[in-house]
């Protein structure tokens, strides 16, 4: 087990005032079988109102709004996490994680990859680890080569991408070979931004794998939210009125052992 201190900072800056701003945030971790979370400070500003709700996937979400003119919006979350990774988070399986979703719908490239992996064997976890290994060997990490709208099929075809693409492809490959899998957002030690990985269903519960680094999710990861794919668990969402020519979002993540 490891004790971690995490800081998440997100700031939005506009050159012209915005108003009627609504937001939904999934950037505050919560406790489960794997991680025990203690929030030390939670700063979300400006807000008229802030509610903590649970979405249809079981993620905690902070929703609220600010109606008056403002040119910046800031979030800072600081907390401690006691993490015991490489452990199954027990839960009854929701079958939606067995079937393709918008970002993980297989096409030619993914079907070919699944074909190449048809010899994987063992229990679901062992098979998923072999699929992860295949992906790690046949896919290249290239920053900026894809964007948030890239599907697993498109990324597989291109042969390169970022953590979101690794996660989507592994999910697609797992589901094609009969393993339920879901997309996870979170923090990882040594990574200055948010990270994405995969949880697979072992038969008893969920177990994390990080395909970008070909690693099991150990004590150095803190989970935020999950869903069928990226679209279900976006960390920061917002809509507002106004017409700023420029908007700048900055995200800073820091995780260190304490």
């Amino acid at each position: 087990m490891k004790n971690l201190r995490f800081t998440y900072e997100m700031s939005l800056r506009f050159d012209e005032p915005i108003y009627d701003h609504y937001f939904a945030l999934r950037c505050v971790p919560v406790s489960d079988d794997v991680q025990k979370i203690q929030i030390l400070s939670r700063y979300i500003n400006p807000t008229d109102c802030l509610n903590e709700v649970v979405d249809g996937f079981g993620n905690h979400k902070y929703v609220g709004h600010y109606f008056d003119n403002h040119k910046q919006f800031e979030v800072q979350i600081v907390g401690n996490a006691a993490v015991e990774g490489m452990k199954v988070h027990r839960e009854v399986l929701h079958s939606m994680y067995k079937y393709p979703s918008r970002f993980t719908e297989p096409g030619q490239a993914l079907k070919a990859a699944a074909e190449a992996c048809s010899k994987v064997c063992g229990n679901p976890l062992e098979r998923a680890v072999q699929l992860m290994m295949y992906l790690y060997q046949h896919f290249t990490y290239v920053k900026g080569s894809t964007d948030i709208s890239t599907t697993a099929e498109e990324a597989m075809k291109a042969g390169r991408g970022v953590c979101q693409d690794y996660a989507h492809i592994l999910i697609a490959l797992c589901r094609m070979s009969g393993i339920a899998a879901r997309y996870v957002n979170g923090f990882m030690i040594g990574e200055g931004s948010t990270h994405a990985w995969v949880e697979i269903y072992t038969g008893e519960g969920w177990y994390g794998l990080d395909p970008t680094n070909n690693l099991h999710i150990d004590d150095y990861y803190i989970k935020l939210a999950h869903g069928r794919d990226y679209a279900d668990c976006v960390l920061d969402k917002g809509v507002f009125m106004g017409s700023p020519a420029n908007q700048k979002q900055q995200i800073l993540v820091n995780v260190e052992e304490i």
Binding site: Y22, C49, V53, V54, G56, V63, H65, F67, M96, V239
Partner: protein, 437 residues
């Protein structure tokens, strides 16, 4: 009735002036056209209506129980009645609605059930529409004009008055109102169904509003009128589809939605008519299972029949479908509207073989149905009266009790060879008379 036929032209002119149009979205484009009115009504006998009423109430009650089950315990899946494949791959299934219990547990408040009557006089269900089905105002306004054109017809014939639709809808809205004003939400005055929205708002004593008049504050929904007065909304009958409802939960680029509305709804602070996520129950694949739902939830024998349908997913059905493909209609479950519908008898030998291979390979993707030889109804074509295919959309309203509106929308095709009753193919509509004795 002859009097009505004589007045048909003037009624159609009035309908055009009232802006009674039909609008459809196809490939993300909006098309609107006049929906032509045929003066010969469809007549449903009193006995037929009593039978239909029972069957429709039973069906809609079961569909509501199915929706409640799917978004909570999923017992019908656990008990092996409906395979999970048909539920979770449906684009109408919205996991964002998991765990939400709508006010009074009602999901489909207004259901539009499409039926046809076969040559054997038997009624068959073609389709369930549980996602804000439209069309109720066409027969309403047509009846109003017919009544004006020929008052004696309605004095001398025992026809159920259909002017109670607004009252029925009002009861449905009041029943789920969690405290606040009633709102009918329209995408706007340029929407082809705007006339229907404003008409129903008046009849139900609701505010007619666009998304710009509505906003979420501190987890409640409010309406702001042109004077700037703010009122809490207790029930919203929204005439926009699920994916545009809340840009924070569904399509992020929706400009006609209300941000964070789904959180207000989840908290039980507003009722939404119809509930989001209903698409999972009116999916082509799920249709097959509706009679099974009736048995499962109500422990009753289904009164109304489905068109005979086969699921190649089941081996027994698959072998029947493969052997009889030529006389069947094949529908792609994933495709919406009239897309992905193939008539076996229109396929060449090669296409037939390809279809068979596809069905074997992707058996879950298709349903197959017998072609129903449905009864023709007379329409006026120039100066002749000719028989044409027609269907009936019955409106079922679920409030404290489930009720069937004693009217409905009868749509017909002008094309003598067509089995597809669709207003976009030059069809029209008729008034539907339900006889009171």
């Amino acid at each position: 009735m002859n009097e009505l036929v004589e007045h048909a032209d003037s009624i159609n002119r009035l309908l055009a002036r009232y802006g009674v149009k039909f609008g459809i979205y196809k490939n993300n484009e909006f098309h609107e056209q006049l929906f032509s009115f045929d003066a010969i009504p469809r007549v449903i006998t009193h006995d037929d209506f009593v039978y239909l009423e029972k069957g429709l109430i039973q069906r809609v009650d079961a569909l509501n129980l199915f929706l409640k089950d799917i978004y909570s315990d999923k017992n019908i899946i656990k008990d092996g009645i409906v395979p999970e494949e048909f539920v979770f791959v449906s684009s109408g299934y919205l996991p964002q609605c998991e765990g939400i219990v709508p006010p009074q547990g009602i999901y489909s408040h207004i259901s539009g059930i499409d039926l046809v009557q076969g040559k054997d006089d038997e009624w068959y269900i073609l389709e369930d529409n549980l996602r804000i089905p439209s069309g109720a105002s066409y027969p309403l306004i047509a009846r109003k004009l017919c009544r004006r054109a020929s008052p004696q017809t309605f004095r001398n014939t025992p026809i159920c008055d259909n002017r109670n639709y607004g009252q029925l809808l009002k009861e449905v809205m009041d029943n789920v109102n969690v405290g606040g004003i009633k709102v009918i939400m329209t995408p706007g005055r340029y929407n082809a169904a705007y006339f229907e929205h404003s008409y129903l708002a008046e009849k139900t004593e609701s505010e007619l509003a666009m998304n710009t008049d509505l906003f979420v504050e501190k987890n409640f929904l409010y309406h702001k009128d042109y004077m700037g007065n703010k009122k809490k909304v207790g029930v919203i009958y929204r005439r926009i589809s699920d994916e545009y409802l809340d840009p924070m939960t569904f399509e992020a680029d929706s400009l006609i939605g209300i941000p964070n509305l789904m959180d207000v709804y989840r908290a039980g602070n507003v009722a939404i008519i119809n509930a989001p996520g209903n698409g999972v129950a009116d999916d082509k694949g799920i249709y097959y299972f509706v009679p099974k739902m009736i048995e499962y939830y109500l422990h009753e024998t289904p009164i109304l029949k489905n068109a005979p349908t086969y699921l190649p997913f089941y081996e027994k059905d698959r072998s029947y479908v493969l052997q009889n493909l030529k006389k069947l209609v094949i529908k792609d479950v994933a495709e919406a509207g009239g897309y992905g519908v193939v008539f076996g008898d229109k396929l060449s030998a090669e296409e037939l073989e390809n279809m068979k291979q596809l069905i074997i390979k992707e058996s879950r993707r298709f349903i197959a149905q017998e072609v129903i030889d449905f009864r023709d109804i007379d329409i006026v074509d120039g100066d002749k009266i000719v028989p044409r295919k027609a269907d009936l959309r019955a409106f079922v309203l679920s409030g404290k009790e489930t009720k069937v509106w004693a009217s409905g929308l009868t749509r017909f095709t002008r094309n003598p060879d067509s089995f597809i009753v669709n207003s976009s193919q030059g069809g029209g509509f008729k008034d539907t008379w339900v006889l009171s004795r």
